[in-house]
Amino acid sequence: MKTREITVTVNGRKRTVTVEVRRTLADFLREDLGLTATHLGCEHGVCGACTVVVDGHTERSCTQLAVQADGREITTVEGLAGPDGELHPVQQALRDNHSFQCGFCTPGFVMSIYGMCEEKKAGRSVPCSRAAIREELSGNICRCTGYQSIVDGAEAALAGAGSDTGKDA
């Protein structure tokens, strides 16, 4: 079977689409749903630009097939801001700290930091020290900033996200 019909919930909206089985989730989001904020850098899981949240966990959308997302719930960076365009607290924290330059890596960083904040809110062990944030964000590559301002933004976002569990994972 070379194509298959899948039903996924993307940013709260249920979509049923027939896709080629070889379609990656990233290409499905970008090409079939027109959600082009999810970026593709390396296409083999290294750069983190394509990071999305699937069923509550950050995952690479370039290293899974769209058919594997059948029945799952996906949040992309387009799904974070409010209906009136109000920035999500993570986006606001990153904006306040001038965390980005060219913006190519931005969606991946935002989703990784969003994932960390959601885990923290859920009471799971989340790294909150600067060193731990750097470690956690080592799966996202930025070629502009030197990371300093991104770590500043992540630190601010995590500080605003629920109570500190006091654990550094």
């Binding site: 070889r22 296409e43 083999h44 899981g45 990071t51 290293t63 058919v67 080592s138 994972a169």
Partner: protein
């Protein structure tokens, strides 16, 4: 940089999955678990299978259980789930230490324990842990289930004893008792990269002396290497600087890693020696705390 054309099935049961693997005329058939190695290979077209058998729907391959002195981790357990599992942390501290070194959180949220072992990258953490602990690797094929000791499982470069129509279903290791500590040390260019060399060590103490040491090295051969001479050098001794040197020298003398753009053979051997000292010292210190 896009996957080639292939056929795809997502069986609901293990039996159906095994049948799909046995189906003739599909060319190369690949099992897709977490996909964190296979999908990159597809994207790069280094792998061009005729059929992909997606096993993510097989609930019988999930779950972490500890029973009768053995920890069993289903092949489809996500690495992140095992990383956060209290059962894993107490029953198999080496696995708990090793998993955070795999890729990044977003990779471990998807990647599976069994997938990494079946992929058998000689630089990867989980095959090295399996070799170190002589894990039992449970496989199911058309003829039923069999258990393969890790020593027989890793047969070469990205090659295992699994037959074409067999699926790795679970990984089983003996639960650790008291006075046992573990450590995993590796050197990689960046966090999350495959290691140039890595060392898994588990030490059980009897009083102050080593009752049992288990050491395996990654990245220095076609498959993980068990450092049996170093283990023997440590047995019955008290861990101190001189015995650590002796063990590291014994292990490194037998290694003949290859050179590549990440590191020369000489550098890899040097790193392996340093990591053996660090890992065994850390494992022994943890074993003392666990007495």
């Amino acid at each position: 940089m896009k996957p080639p054309v292939f056929d795809y099935v997502s069986p609901a049961t293990l039996e159906e999955a095994i049948q799909a693997l046995s189906a003739p005329d599909d060319g190369d058939v690949k099992v897709l678990a977490g996909g964190q190695s296979l999908v990159p290979l597809l994207n790069l077209r280094l792998s061009q299978p005729g059929l992909i058998v997606d096993i993510n729907g097989l609930d019988e391959l999930t779950g972490i259980t500890e029973e009768a002195g053995y920890l069993t981790v289903g092949a489809l357990v996500r690495q992140r789930e095992a990383e956060l599992s209290d059962v894993v942390r107490t029953a198999c501290p080496l696995l708990h230490e090793a998993i955070p070194l795999i890729g990044h959180t977003a990779i471990r949220n998807r990647g599976t324990v069994g997938g990494s072992i079946a992929h058998a990258d000689p630089a990867a953490e989980l095959p090295t842990v399996a070799a170190c602990l002589d894990a039992e690797l449970v496989a199911r094929g058309p003829g039923g289930e069999r258990t393969i000791p890790a020593a027989d499982f890793f047969t070469g470069f990205f090659t295992t004893a699994l037959a074409e129509d067999e699926i790795l279903t679970a990984v089983r290791v003996r639960s650790v008792g008291p006075a046992t500590g573990a450590a995993y040390e590796e050197v990689a260019r960046r966090h999350g990269d495959f290691a140039m060399a890595g060392v898994a060590a588990q030490v059980r103490l009897d009083g102050d002396t080593v009752a049992e040491a288990r050491i395996a090295i990654s990245g220095v051969d076609l498959a993980p290497v068990r450092a049996t001479k170093a283990e023997a050098a440590l047995a019955g001794r008290t861990v101190d600087d001189s015995i650590l040197d002796e063990a590291a020298d014994a292990a490194v003398a037998d290694l003949s890693p290859s050179s590549d753009l990440h590191g020369s053979a000489a550098y890899r051997k040097h790193v392996a020696g340093v990591l053996i000292r660090k890992a065994v010292a850390a494992a022994a210190a943890r074993a003392r705390e666990a007495r």
